[in-house]
Protein backbone atom coordinates (compact mmCIF):
# COMPACT_ATOMS: atom_id res chain seq x y z
CA UNK A 1 0.00 0.00 0.00
CA UNK A 2 1.27 3.47 -0.72
CA UNK A 3 3.00 5.13 2.20
CA UNK A 4 2.00 8.77 2.37
CA UNK A 5 3.42 11.05 5.03
CA UNK A 6 1.59 14.37 4.92
CA UNK A 7 4.12 16.17 7.15
CA UNK A 8 6.84 15.93 4.48
CA UNK A 9 4.34 15.61 1.62
CA UNK A 10 6.07 12.39 0.69
CA UNK A 11 4.47 9.46 -1.16
CA UNK A 12 6.49 6.25 -1.27
CA UNK A 13 5.50 3.38 -3.57
CA UNK A 14 6.94 -0.09 -3.68
CA UNK A 15 7.43 -2.28 -6.72
CA UNK A 16 8.71 -5.83 -6.34
CA UNK A 17 10.43 -7.89 -9.03
CA UNK A 18 9.36 -11.47 -8.32
CA UNK A 19 10.13 -14.75 -10.07
CA UNK A 20 12.06 -18.01 -9.98
CA UNK A 21 15.76 -18.07 -9.09
CA UNK A 22 18.09 -16.90 -11.85
CA UNK A 23 15.33 -15.61 -14.12
CA UNK A 24 17.02 -12.19 -14.32
CA UNK A 25 15.37 -10.04 -11.65
CA UNK A 26 18.62 -8.51 -10.45
CA UNK A 27 19.72 -8.01 -14.04
CA UNK A 28 16.46 -6.14 -14.73
CA UNK A 29 17.15 -3.84 -11.83
CA UNK A 30 20.78 -3.28 -12.83
CA UNK A 31 19.66 -2.40 -16.34
CA UNK A 32 17.06 0.02 -15.00
CA UNK A 33 19.76 1.58 -12.87
CA UNK A 34 22.01 2.18 -15.83
CA UNK A 35 19.39 2.88 -18.53
CA UNK A 36 17.02 5.10 -16.57
CA UNK A 37 17.62 8.75 -16.08
CA UNK A 38 14.66 9.83 -13.98
CA UNK A 39 14.64 13.11 -12.12
CA UNK A 40 15.95 11.51 -9.00
CA UNK A 41 17.81 8.23 -8.76
CA UNK A 42 19.49 6.73 -5.72
CA UNK A 43 22.18 4.12 -5.43
CA UNK A 44 21.46 0.54 -6.44
CA UNK A 45 21.82 -1.49 -3.30
CA UNK A 46 22.71 -5.08 -3.95
CA UNK A 47 22.67 -7.46 -1.00
CA UNK A 48 24.13 -10.54 -2.51
CA UNK A 49 26.20 -13.60 -1.61
CA UNK A 50 29.71 -14.08 -2.92
CA UNK A 51 28.46 -16.04 -5.93
CA UNK A 52 26.16 -13.22 -7.02
CA UNK A 53 22.96 -14.82 -5.78
CA UNK A 54 20.60 -12.37 -4.21
CA UNK A 55 20.74 -12.90 -0.45
CA UNK A 56 18.13 -10.53 0.89
CA UNK A 57 17.04 -8.24 -1.91
CA UNK A 58 18.23 -5.54 -4.26
CA UNK A 59 16.82 -2.07 -4.04
CA UNK A 60 16.82 0.91 -6.32
CA UNK A 61 15.09 4.12 -5.24
CA UNK A 62 13.94 6.61 -7.89
CA UNK A 63 11.70 9.62 -7.54
CA UNK A 64 10.34 12.94 -8.72
CA UNK A 65 9.13 16.13 -7.14
CA UNK A 66 5.96 17.75 -8.45
CA UNK A 67 5.41 21.48 -8.74
CA UNK A 68 2.96 21.12 -5.87
CA UNK A 69 5.91 19.94 -3.78
CA UNK A 70 4.88 16.26 -3.64
CA UNK A 71 7.97 14.12 -3.06
CA UNK A 72 7.10 10.95 -5.00
CA UNK A 73 9.38 7.97 -4.38
CA UNK A 74 9.41 4.62 -6.05
CA UNK A 75 11.44 1.86 -4.47
CA UNK A 76 12.19 -1.05 -6.76
CA UNK A 77 12.97 -4.32 -4.98
CA UNK A 78 13.97 -7.78 -6.12
CA UNK A 79 13.43 -10.90 -4.03
CA UNK A 80 15.72 -13.91 -3.68
CA UNK A 81 14.29 -16.65 -5.90
CA UNK A 82 15.58 -19.74 -4.14
CA UNK A 83 12.98 -21.80 -2.33
CA UNK A 84 14.63 -21.50 1.09
CA UNK A 85 14.25 -17.71 1.19
CA UNK A 86 10.47 -17.74 1.37
CA UNK A 87 10.22 -15.68 4.54
CA UNK A 88 12.42 -12.97 3.01
CA UNK A 89 10.22 -12.97 -0.09
CA UNK A 90 7.18 -12.54 2.09
CA UNK A 91 8.76 -9.66 4.02
CA UNK A 92 9.77 -7.86 0.83
CA UNK A 93 6.42 -8.51 -0.80
CA UNK A 94 4.39 -7.09 2.06
CA UNK A 95 2.83 -3.70 1.34
CA UNK A 96 3.85 -3.89 -2.35
CA UNK A 97 2.04 -1.53 -4.71
CA UNK A 98 3.03 -3.33 -7.89
CA UNK A 99 4.77 -6.50 -9.03
CA UNK A 100 6.89 -7.37 -12.06
CA UNK A 101 6.94 -11.14 -12.45
CA UNK A 102 10.15 -12.06 -14.28
CA UNK A 103 9.79 -15.47 -15.93
CA UNK A 104 12.55 -17.39 -17.67
CA UNK A 105 11.69 -18.01 -21.32
CA UNK A 106 13.75 -21.17 -21.63
CA UNK A 107 11.72 -24.29 -22.34
CA UNK A 108 13.39 -26.13 -19.47
CA UNK A 109 12.39 -23.43 -16.96
CA UNK A 110 8.61 -23.50 -17.44
CA UNK A 111 7.98 -25.64 -14.38
CA UNK A 112 10.04 -23.29 -12.24
CA UNK A 113 8.03 -20.35 -13.59
CA UNK A 114 4.80 -22.05 -12.60
CA UNK A 115 6.07 -22.92 -9.13
CA UNK A 116 7.26 -19.35 -8.56
CA UNK A 117 3.95 -17.96 -9.77
CA UNK A 118 2.09 -20.23 -7.38
CA UNK A 119 4.40 -19.09 -4.61
CA UNK A 120 3.63 -15.46 -5.50
CA UNK A 121 -0.09 -16.16 -5.26
CA UNK A 122 0.36 -17.84 -1.87
CA UNK A 123 2.53 -15.10 -0.46
CA UNK A 124 0.31 -12.29 -1.72
CA UNK A 125 -2.50 -14.03 0.03
CA UNK A 126 -0.47 -14.31 3.22
CA UNK A 127 0.47 -10.63 3.26
CA UNK A 128 -3.12 -9.67 2.54
CA UNK A 129 -2.84 -8.59 -1.10
CA UNK A 130 -5.20 -9.54 -3.89
CA UNK A 131 -3.43 -10.79 -7.00
CA UNK A 132 -6.32 -9.74 -9.21
CA UNK A 133 -6.35 -6.19 -7.91
CA UNK A 134 -2.60 -5.67 -7.68
CA UNK A 135 -0.96 -3.85 -10.65
CA UNK A 136 1.29 -6.48 -12.20
CA UNK A 137 3.29 -7.13 -15.37
CA UNK A 138 4.51 -10.55 -16.43
CA UNK A 139 7.80 -10.43 -18.30
CA UNK A 140 9.34 -13.34 -20.18
CA UNK A 141 13.08 -12.73 -20.02
CA UNK A 142 16.09 -14.18 -21.82
CA UNK A 143 14.51 -13.89 -25.28
CA UNK A 144 18.08 -13.83 -26.66
CA UNK A 145 18.59 -17.50 -25.86
CA UNK A 146 17.92 -20.20 -28.51
CA UNK A 147 15.83 -22.75 -26.60
CA UNK A 148 12.98 -20.46 -25.56
CA UNK A 149 9.24 -20.99 -25.74
CA UNK A 150 7.77 -19.33 -28.82
CA UNK A 151 6.35 -15.86 -28.11
CA UNK A 152 3.07 -16.50 -29.97
CA UNK A 153 2.53 -19.60 -27.87
CA UNK A 154 3.21 -17.70 -24.64
CA UNK A 155 0.91 -14.83 -25.58
CA UNK A 156 -1.84 -17.29 -26.50
CA UNK A 157 -1.44 -19.15 -23.24
CA UNK A 158 -1.75 -15.96 -21.16
CA UNK A 159 -4.38 -14.29 -23.37
CA UNK A 160 -7.26 -14.96 -20.97
CA UNK A 161 -5.49 -13.52 -17.90
CA UNK A 162 -5.44 -9.97 -16.50
CA UNK A 163 -1.74 -9.90 -17.39
CA UNK A 164 -2.02 -10.09 -21.16
CA UNK A 165 -0.20 -9.02 -23.19
CA UNK A 166 3.07 -10.33 -21.77
CA UNK A 167 6.25 -8.28 -21.87
CA UNK A 168 9.21 -9.84 -23.73
CA UNK A 169 12.72 -8.93 -22.67
CA UNK A 170 16.37 -9.68 -22.72
CA UNK A 171 17.58 -8.09 -19.54
CA UNK A 172 21.14 -9.09 -20.32
CA UNK A 173 21.03 -7.09 -23.55
CA UNK A 174 18.84 -4.38 -22.06
CA UNK A 175 15.90 -4.83 -24.40
CA UNK A 176 12.32 -4.80 -23.15
CA UNK A 177 13.36 -3.81 -19.62
CA UNK A 178 12.21 -0.20 -19.81
CA UNK A 179 9.08 -1.22 -21.73
CA UNK A 180 8.19 -3.67 -18.99
CA UNK A 181 8.74 -0.99 -16.38
CA UNK A 182 6.60 1.50 -18.29
CA UNK A 183 3.74 -0.95 -18.58
CA UNK A 184 3.91 -1.40 -14.84
CA UNK A 185 3.93 2.37 -14.22
CA UNK A 186 0.87 2.61 -16.45
CA UNK A 187 -1.02 -0.02 -14.44
CA UNK A 188 0.21 1.46 -11.18
CA UNK A 189 -0.93 4.97 -12.02
CA UNK A 190 -4.63 4.18 -12.16
CA UNK A 191 -4.96 3.19 -8.51
CA UNK A 192 -2.56 5.81 -7.15
CA UNK A 193 -4.27 8.61 -9.06
CA UNK A 194 -7.66 7.44 -7.80
CA UNK A 195 -6.41 7.52 -4.22
CA UNK A 196 -4.22 10.63 -4.22
CA UNK A 197 -5.57 12.65 -7.15
CA UNK A 198 -2.11 12.94 -8.70
CA UNK A 199 -3.42 14.71 -11.80
CA UNK A 200 -5.77 17.12 -10.06
CA UNK A 201 -3.81 18.03 -6.93
CA UNK A 202 -0.24 17.59 -8.06
CA UNK A 203 -0.33 18.11 -11.81
CA UNK A 204 0.97 14.61 -12.48
CA UNK A 205 -1.08 13.01 -15.23
CA UNK A 206 -0.51 9.50 -16.54
CA UNK A 207 1.99 10.51 -19.25
CA UNK A 208 3.96 12.67 -16.82
CA UNK A 209 4.02 9.88 -14.22
CA UNK A 210 5.32 7.34 -16.72
CA UNK A 211 7.56 9.70 -18.62
CA UNK A 212 9.30 11.34 -15.70
CA UNK A 213 9.87 8.14 -13.77
CA UNK A 214 11.20 6.21 -16.75
CA UNK A 215 13.14 8.85 -18.64
CA UNK A 216 16.11 7.17 -20.19
CA UNK A 217 19.53 8.28 -21.31
CA UNK A 218 19.69 9.49 -24.89
CA UNK A 219 16.28 8.30 -25.98
CA UNK A 220 13.34 10.73 -25.96
CA UNK A 221 11.08 10.77 -22.95
CA UNK A 222 7.79 9.10 -23.61
Amino acid sequence: MPDFSPEDNKLALKVVFYGPALSGKTTNLMQLHSLLNPERKGELMVLETRDDRTLFFDMLPIGLRSRSGLDLRLKLYTVPGQVQHDSTRKAVLSRADGVVFVADSQVAQQDNNAIAFGNLEDNLDKVGLDIDALPMVVQFNKRDLPAVVDEAELQARWAGTPWAPLAMASALQGTGVIETFRTLLDRLYTGIDAEFDLAGKHGIDRATFIGRLSASHGVDDA
Binding site: G42, M45, F56, M59, A91, V92
Partner: protein
Amino acid sequence: MRNFEDDPTLSDLLTPDQLQRLSNGLSALCRAPVVISENRAGDAVPVEFNLETVGWLSGGASAVERGAAAELVSFLMLFVAKYRLAANIHHDTTEASYAELQRQNEALRASEAKYRELSDQLQQKVDEQVAVIRQTQQELYESARLRSVGHLAAGVAHEINNPVGFISSNLRVARDYVQNLEPLLPETAENWELLEDFHDLLNESIDGTDRIASIVADLKTFSSIDQADNALCDLNSLLRSACHLVQTEHDHRLNITENLAELPRIPGHPSRLSQTLFNLLDNAARAVGEDGRILVRTLADNTGIQVIIQDNGCGIPETIRSQVFDAFFTTRPVGSGTGLGLTVARDTVRAHGGQLTLDSQEGAGTRVVLSLPVQQGS
Protein backbone atom coordinates in the same frame (compact mmCIF):
# COMPACT_ATOMS: atom_id res chain seq x y z
CA MET B 1 7.90 -1.30 15.14
CA ARG B 2 9.56 0.32 12.18
CA ASN B 3 9.59 -1.52 8.90
CA PHE B 4 12.89 -2.82 7.64
CA GLU B 5 12.48 -0.61 4.60
CA ASP B 6 11.75 2.66 6.40
CA ASP B 7 14.25 5.33 5.44
CA PRO B 8 16.95 5.46 8.10
CA THR B 9 17.91 8.62 9.92
CA LEU B 10 21.50 9.61 10.66
CA SER B 11 21.19 8.33 14.22
CA ASP B 12 19.82 5.03 12.94
CA LEU B 13 22.97 4.62 10.87
CA LEU B 14 25.75 5.88 13.17
CA THR B 15 26.22 6.11 16.93
CA PRO B 16 27.28 9.51 18.35
CA ASP B 17 30.79 8.08 18.87
CA GLN B 18 31.05 6.94 15.27
CA LEU B 19 29.72 10.28 14.07
CA GLN B 20 32.31 12.09 16.18
CA ARG B 21 35.08 9.90 14.83
CA LEU B 22 33.91 10.55 11.25
CA SER B 23 33.83 14.30 11.87
CA ASN B 24 37.33 14.15 13.37
CA GLY B 25 38.68 12.27 10.36
CA LEU B 26 37.12 14.66 7.88
CA SER B 27 38.31 17.64 9.92
CA ALA B 28 41.84 16.32 9.70
CA LEU B 29 41.57 15.97 5.91
CA CYS B 30 40.06 19.41 5.37
CA ARG B 31 41.77 22.63 6.16
CA ALA B 32 39.11 23.62 8.64
CA PRO B 33 37.05 21.51 11.10
CA VAL B 34 33.95 19.77 9.80
CA VAL B 35 30.69 19.10 11.69
CA ILE B 36 27.98 16.59 10.74
CA SER B 37 24.57 16.99 12.35
CA GLU B 38 20.92 16.25 11.79
CA ASN B 39 20.14 19.98 11.86
CA ARG B 40 20.88 22.46 9.16
CA ALA B 41 23.47 25.12 10.06
CA GLY B 42 24.55 28.27 8.13
CA ASP B 43 26.81 27.03 5.33
CA ALA B 44 25.73 23.39 5.60
CA VAL B 45 25.36 21.11 2.57
CA PRO B 46 23.00 18.11 2.63
CA VAL B 47 24.31 14.60 3.14
CA GLU B 48 22.09 12.50 0.91
CA PHE B 49 21.37 8.86 0.98
CA ASN B 50 18.74 7.09 -1.10
CA LEU B 51 17.15 10.35 -2.17
CA GLU B 52 16.85 11.24 1.50
CA THR B 53 18.69 14.02 3.28
CA VAL B 54 19.95 12.23 6.35
CA GLY B 55 22.07 15.04 7.73
CA TRP B 56 23.92 18.29 7.18
CA LEU B 57 27.63 18.90 6.87
CA SER B 58 29.09 22.27 7.73
CA GLY B 59 32.58 23.69 8.21
CA GLY B 60 35.55 23.03 5.98
CA ALA B 61 37.58 25.74 4.34
CA SER B 62 35.49 25.98 1.14
CA ALA B 63 32.33 24.86 -0.62
CA VAL B 64 34.43 22.37 -2.58
CA GLU B 65 35.75 20.83 0.62
CA ARG B 66 32.24 20.64 2.08
CA GLY B 67 30.91 19.07 -1.12
CA ALA B 68 33.67 16.47 -1.25
CA ALA B 69 33.29 15.65 2.45
CA ALA B 70 29.50 15.29 2.10
CA GLU B 71 29.97 12.99 -0.89
CA LEU B 72 32.38 10.86 1.09
CA VAL B 73 29.89 10.57 3.95
CA SER B 74 27.10 9.59 1.51
CA PHE B 75 29.35 6.91 0.09
CA LEU B 76 30.04 5.56 3.56
CA MET B 77 26.31 5.66 4.38
CA LEU B 78 25.60 3.28 1.53
CA PHE B 79 27.54 0.49 3.21
CA VAL B 80 26.32 1.28 6.67
CA ALA B 81 22.74 1.31 5.36
CA LYS B 82 23.26 -1.92 3.47
CA TYR B 83 24.27 -3.62 6.67
CA ARG B 84 21.42 -1.98 8.56
CA LEU B 85 18.86 -3.08 5.94
CA ALA B 86 20.21 -6.62 5.90
CA ALA B 87 20.17 -6.77 9.68
CA ASN B 88 16.63 -5.38 9.84
CA ILE B 89 15.18 -7.78 7.32
CA HIS B 90 17.02 -10.64 8.94
CA HIS B 91 15.52 -9.64 12.26
CA ASP B 92 12.04 -9.27 10.77
CA THR B 93 12.07 -12.59 8.95
CA THR B 94 13.58 -14.42 11.90
CA GLU B 95 10.88 -13.04 14.11
CA ALA B 96 8.19 -13.91 11.59
CA SER B 97 9.59 -17.43 11.23
CA TYR B 98 9.71 -17.81 14.98
CA ALA B 99 6.14 -16.61 15.34
CA GLU B 100 5.12 -19.04 12.61
CA LEU B 101 7.02 -21.81 14.38
CA GLN B 102 5.25 -21.00 17.62
CA ARG B 103 1.91 -21.03 15.87
CA GLN B 104 2.69 -24.41 14.37
CA ASN B 105 3.92 -25.63 17.71
CA GLU B 106 0.72 -24.46 19.33
CA ALA B 107 -1.38 -26.11 16.65
CA LEU B 108 0.65 -29.28 17.04
CA ARG B 109 0.17 -29.23 20.76
CA ALA B 110 -3.55 -28.65 20.39
CA SER B 111 -3.92 -31.53 17.97
CA GLU B 112 -1.73 -33.71 20.14
CA ALA B 113 -3.96 -32.95 23.12
CA LYS B 114 -6.99 -33.75 21.01
CA TYR B 115 -5.55 -37.07 19.97
CA ARG B 116 -4.56 -37.89 23.50
CA GLU B 117 -8.09 -37.15 24.66
CA LEU B 118 -9.44 -39.23 21.81
CA SER B 119 -7.18 -42.12 22.69
CA ASP B 120 -8.14 -41.82 26.35
CA GLN B 121 -11.78 -41.97 25.42
CA LEU B 122 -11.04 -44.92 23.21
CA GLN B 123 -9.24 -46.67 26.06
CA GLN B 124 -12.15 -45.97 28.35
CA LYS B 125 -14.61 -47.34 25.78
CA VAL B 126 -12.46 -50.44 25.34
CA ASP B 127 -12.31 -50.93 29.11
CA GLU B 128 -16.05 -50.58 29.37
CA GLN B 129 -16.61 -53.06 26.57
CA VAL B 130 -14.15 -55.50 28.11
CA ALA B 131 -15.98 -55.24 31.42
CA VAL B 132 -19.30 -55.87 29.69
CA ILE B 133 -17.90 -58.87 27.83
CA ARG B 134 -16.34 -60.30 30.96
CA GLN B 135 -19.55 -59.82 32.89
CA THR B 136 -21.66 -61.42 30.18
CA GLN B 137 -19.24 -64.30 29.95
CA GLN B 138 -19.45 -64.90 33.67
CA GLU B 139 -23.20 -64.72 33.70
CA LEU B 140 -23.34 -67.11 30.80
CA TYR B 141 -21.03 -69.49 32.58
CA GLU B 142 -22.94 -69.10 35.80
CA SER B 143 -26.34 -69.64 34.25
CA ALA B 144 -25.07 -72.66 32.30
CA ARG B 145 -23.74 -74.13 35.51
CA LEU B 146 -26.97 -73.33 37.23
CA ARG B 147 -28.94 -75.02 34.50
CA SER B 148 -26.86 -78.18 34.55
CA VAL B 149 -26.98 -78.38 38.34
CA GLY B 150 -30.73 -77.81 38.10
CA HIS B 151 -31.11 -80.54 35.52
CA LEU B 152 -29.07 -82.95 37.54
CA ALA B 153 -31.02 -82.18 40.67
CA ALA B 154 -34.31 -82.50 38.83
CA GLY B 155 -33.21 -85.80 37.25
CA VAL B 156 -32.10 -87.23 40.56
CA ALA B 157 -35.27 -86.00 42.25
CA HIS B 158 -37.39 -87.62 39.58
CA GLU B 159 -35.52 -90.93 39.78
CA ILE B 160 -35.68 -90.99 43.56
CA ASN B 161 -39.32 -89.94 43.71
CA ASN B 162 -40.72 -93.25 42.44
CA PRO B 163 -38.75 -95.67 44.60
CA VAL B 164 -39.23 -93.43 47.61
CA GLY B 165 -42.94 -93.38 46.82
CA PHE B 166 -43.33 -97.15 46.73
CA ILE B 167 -40.93 -97.70 49.61
CA SER B 168 -42.98 -95.29 51.67
CA SER B 169 -46.32 -96.85 50.77
CA ASN B 170 -44.91 -100.41 51.17
CA LEU B 171 -43.66 -99.45 54.60
CA ARG B 172 -47.12 -98.21 55.60
CA VAL B 173 -48.71 -101.41 54.26
CA ALA B 174 -46.05 -103.44 56.12
CA ARG B 175 -46.92 -101.55 59.31
CA ASP B 176 -50.60 -102.52 58.82
CA TYR B 177 -49.58 -106.14 58.22
CA VAL B 178 -47.57 -106.17 61.40
CA GLN B 179 -50.60 -104.84 63.23
CA ASN B 180 -52.71 -107.64 61.68
CA LEU B 181 -50.14 -110.23 62.70
CA GLU B 182 -50.13 -109.06 66.30
CA PRO B 183 -53.23 -111.00 67.61
CA LEU B 184 -52.06 -114.15 65.85
CA LEU B 185 -48.79 -114.43 67.73
CA PRO B 186 -48.50 -116.20 71.08
CA GLU B 187 -48.36 -113.61 73.82
CA THR B 188 -44.91 -114.03 75.14
CA ALA B 189 -42.74 -111.25 76.48
CA GLU B 190 -40.21 -112.04 73.84
CA ASN B 191 -42.76 -111.75 70.99
CA TRP B 192 -44.19 -108.58 72.43
CA GLU B 193 -40.72 -106.99 72.52
CA LEU B 194 -40.02 -108.15 68.97
CA LEU B 195 -43.26 -106.62 67.69
CA GLU B 196 -42.60 -103.37 69.51
CA ASP B 197 -39.15 -103.16 67.94
CA PHE B 198 -40.51 -104.03 64.52
CA HIS B 199 -43.01 -101.16 64.88
CA ASP B 200 -40.32 -98.70 65.76
CA LEU B 201 -38.17 -99.82 62.84
CA LEU B 202 -41.00 -99.34 60.43
CA ASN B 203 -41.95 -95.94 61.88
CA GLU B 204 -38.34 -94.70 61.71
CA SER B 205 -38.10 -95.92 58.12
CA ILE B 206 -41.35 -94.13 57.27
CA ASP B 207 -39.94 -90.96 58.87
CA GLY B 208 -36.78 -91.40 56.81
CA THR B 209 -38.65 -91.79 53.55
CA ASP B 210 -40.75 -88.73 54.42
CA ARG B 211 -37.57 -86.75 54.88
CA ILE B 212 -36.21 -88.05 51.58
CA ALA B 213 -39.48 -87.07 49.93
CA SER B 214 -39.30 -83.56 51.35
CA ILE B 215 -35.66 -83.10 50.23
CA VAL B 216 -36.67 -84.26 46.77
CA ALA B 217 -39.53 -81.77 46.82
CA ASP B 218 -37.12 -78.98 47.86
CA LEU B 219 -34.75 -79.92 45.08
CA LYS B 220 -37.57 -79.79 42.61
CA THR B 221 -38.65 -76.38 43.89
CA PHE B 222 -35.11 -75.14 43.86
CA SER B 223 -34.35 -76.22 40.34
CA SER B 224 -37.88 -75.29 39.28
CA ILE B 225 -37.58 -77.87 36.59
CA ASP B 226 -41.32 -78.11 36.20
CA GLN B 227 -41.69 -74.29 36.08
CA ALA B 228 -41.45 -72.04 33.04
CA ASP B 229 -38.59 -69.48 32.92
CA ASN B 230 -41.15 -66.90 33.83
CA ALA B 231 -43.73 -67.92 36.35
CA LEU B 232 -45.60 -66.59 39.36
CA CYS B 233 -43.27 -67.34 42.22
CA ASP B 234 -44.03 -67.96 45.83
CA LEU B 235 -40.99 -66.41 47.48
CA ASN B 236 -41.74 -68.06 50.81
CA SER B 237 -41.64 -71.54 49.37
CA LEU B 238 -38.47 -70.75 47.40
CA LEU B 239 -36.97 -69.41 50.61
CA ARG B 240 -37.93 -72.50 52.63
CA SER B 241 -36.39 -74.82 50.05
CA ALA B 242 -33.24 -72.73 49.97
CA CYS B 243 -33.05 -72.86 53.79
CA HIS B 244 -33.38 -76.66 53.76
CA LEU B 245 -30.68 -76.99 51.14
CA VAL B 246 -28.34 -74.70 53.02
CA GLN B 247 -28.97 -76.76 56.13
CA THR B 248 -28.09 -79.87 54.15
CA GLU B 249 -24.89 -78.19 52.98
CA HIS B 250 -23.96 -77.34 56.56
CA ASP B 251 -24.92 -80.66 58.16
CA HIS B 252 -28.08 -79.20 59.76
CA ARG B 253 -26.03 -77.32 62.28
CA LEU B 254 -27.37 -73.88 61.42
CA ASN B 255 -29.63 -71.93 63.68
CA ILE B 256 -32.06 -70.42 61.18
CA THR B 257 -35.16 -68.61 62.41
CA GLU B 258 -37.82 -68.18 59.79
CA ASN B 259 -40.36 -65.44 60.23
CA LEU B 260 -42.35 -65.40 57.02
CA ALA B 261 -45.31 -63.15 56.33
CA GLU B 262 -47.95 -63.95 53.80
CA LEU B 263 -46.71 -62.82 50.40
CA PRO B 264 -48.37 -62.19 47.09
CA ARG B 265 -46.95 -64.24 44.26
CA ILE B 266 -44.70 -62.24 42.01
CA PRO B 267 -43.80 -62.88 38.40
CA GLY B 268 -40.18 -63.94 38.03
CA HIS B 269 -37.58 -66.49 37.15
CA PRO B 270 -37.91 -69.14 39.92
CA SER B 271 -34.60 -70.93 39.53
CA ARG B 272 -32.60 -67.72 39.40
CA LEU B 273 -34.42 -66.37 42.45
CA SER B 274 -33.77 -69.66 44.26
CA GLN B 275 -30.10 -69.47 43.42
CA THR B 276 -30.02 -65.91 44.69
CA LEU B 277 -31.66 -66.81 48.00
CA PHE B 278 -29.35 -69.77 48.34
CA ASN B 279 -26.28 -67.58 47.73
CA LEU B 280 -27.39 -65.05 50.33
CA LEU B 281 -28.15 -67.76 52.89
CA ASP B 282 -24.91 -69.53 52.14
CA ASN B 283 -22.98 -66.26 52.69
CA ALA B 284 -24.75 -65.81 56.00
CA ALA B 285 -24.04 -69.42 56.99
CA ARG B 286 -20.35 -69.02 56.26
CA ALA B 287 -20.24 -65.75 58.18
CA VAL B 288 -21.80 -67.11 61.38
CA GLY B 289 -19.80 -70.29 61.71
CA GLU B 290 -20.78 -72.82 64.43
CA ASP B 291 -22.92 -70.91 66.89
CA GLY B 292 -24.35 -67.83 65.19
CA ARG B 293 -27.91 -67.12 64.30
CA ILE B 294 -29.54 -66.40 60.99
CA LEU B 295 -32.84 -64.60 60.86
CA VAL B 296 -34.92 -64.86 57.72
CA ARG B 297 -37.90 -62.56 57.41
CA THR B 298 -40.33 -61.65 54.70
CA LEU B 299 -42.58 -58.61 54.61
CA ALA B 300 -45.12 -57.28 52.14
CA ASP B 301 -46.86 -54.01 51.60
CA ASN B 302 -48.76 -52.67 48.61
CA THR B 303 -45.61 -51.56 46.75
CA GLY B 304 -43.57 -54.70 47.04
CA ILE B 305 -42.12 -57.47 49.09
CA GLN B 306 -38.94 -57.64 51.09
CA VAL B 307 -36.76 -60.55 52.02
CA ILE B 308 -34.40 -59.82 54.88
CA ILE B 309 -31.57 -62.15 55.70
CA GLN B 310 -29.70 -61.12 58.77
CA ASP B 311 -26.84 -62.79 60.55
CA ASN B 312 -24.75 -62.01 63.61
CA GLY B 313 -21.57 -63.25 61.98
CA CYS B 314 -18.21 -61.67 61.24
CA GLY B 315 -19.52 -58.84 59.02
CA ILE B 316 -17.73 -57.24 56.13
CA PRO B 317 -14.80 -54.88 56.86
CA GLU B 318 -15.40 -51.30 55.73
CA THR B 319 -12.32 -51.37 53.51
CA ILE B 320 -13.69 -54.03 51.21
CA ARG B 321 -17.39 -53.21 51.41
CA SER B 322 -17.39 -51.34 48.13
CA GLN B 323 -15.81 -54.32 46.37
CA VAL B 324 -18.22 -57.01 47.47
CA PHE B 325 -20.24 -56.66 44.30
CA ASP B 326 -17.17 -56.97 42.04
CA ALA B 327 -17.56 -60.05 39.91
CA PHE B 328 -14.36 -61.74 41.09
CA PHE B 329 -14.14 -60.49 44.56
CA THR B 330 -14.16 -63.06 47.32
CA THR B 331 -12.90 -63.02 50.88
CA ARG B 332 -12.99 -66.76 51.12
CA PRO B 333 -10.00 -68.98 50.61
CA VAL B 334 -9.19 -69.49 46.98
CA GLY B 335 -11.09 -72.44 45.55
CA SER B 336 -14.07 -72.19 47.86
CA GLY B 337 -16.09 -69.93 45.62
CA THR B 338 -15.96 -67.82 42.53
CA GLY B 339 -16.88 -64.67 44.38
CA LEU B 340 -19.84 -64.30 42.11
CA GLY B 341 -22.49 -64.81 44.73
CA LEU B 342 -23.32 -61.19 45.40
CA THR B 343 -22.83 -59.98 41.85
CA VAL B 344 -25.13 -62.60 40.44
CA ALA B 345 -27.60 -61.96 43.26
CA ARG B 346 -27.64 -58.25 42.58
CA ASP B 347 -27.98 -58.72 38.82
CA THR B 348 -30.85 -61.15 39.29
CA VAL B 349 -32.66 -58.78 41.65
CA ARG B 350 -32.14 -55.92 39.19
CA ALA B 351 -33.45 -58.07 36.37
CA HIS B 352 -36.60 -58.45 38.44
CA GLY B 353 -36.88 -54.69 38.84
CA GLY B 354 -35.77 -54.84 42.45
CA GLN B 355 -32.91 -53.79 44.63
CA LEU B 356 -30.36 -55.48 46.83
CA THR B 357 -28.88 -53.51 49.72
CA LEU B 358 -26.19 -54.59 52.04
CA ASP B 359 -25.64 -53.29 55.51
CA SER B 360 -22.77 -54.65 57.47
CA GLN B 361 -20.70 -53.98 60.51
CA GLU B 362 -17.47 -55.76 61.08
CA GLY B 363 -17.77 -58.18 63.99
CA ALA B 364 -21.49 -57.51 64.44
CA GLY B 365 -23.09 -59.05 61.40
CA THR B 366 -24.61 -58.41 58.03
CA ARG B 367 -28.09 -57.58 56.91
CA VAL B 368 -29.12 -58.05 53.32
CA VAL B 369 -32.41 -56.62 52.16
CA LEU B 370 -33.84 -57.84 48.91
CA SER B 371 -36.73 -55.72 47.68
CA LEU B 372 -38.89 -56.79 44.78
CA PRO B 373 -41.81 -54.89 43.30
CA VAL B 374 -45.13 -56.66 43.18
CA GLN B 375 -45.88 -55.38 39.73
CA GLN B 376 -42.94 -55.62 37.38
CA GLY B 377 -42.51 -53.17 34.56
CA SER B 378 -45.63 -51.40 33.37
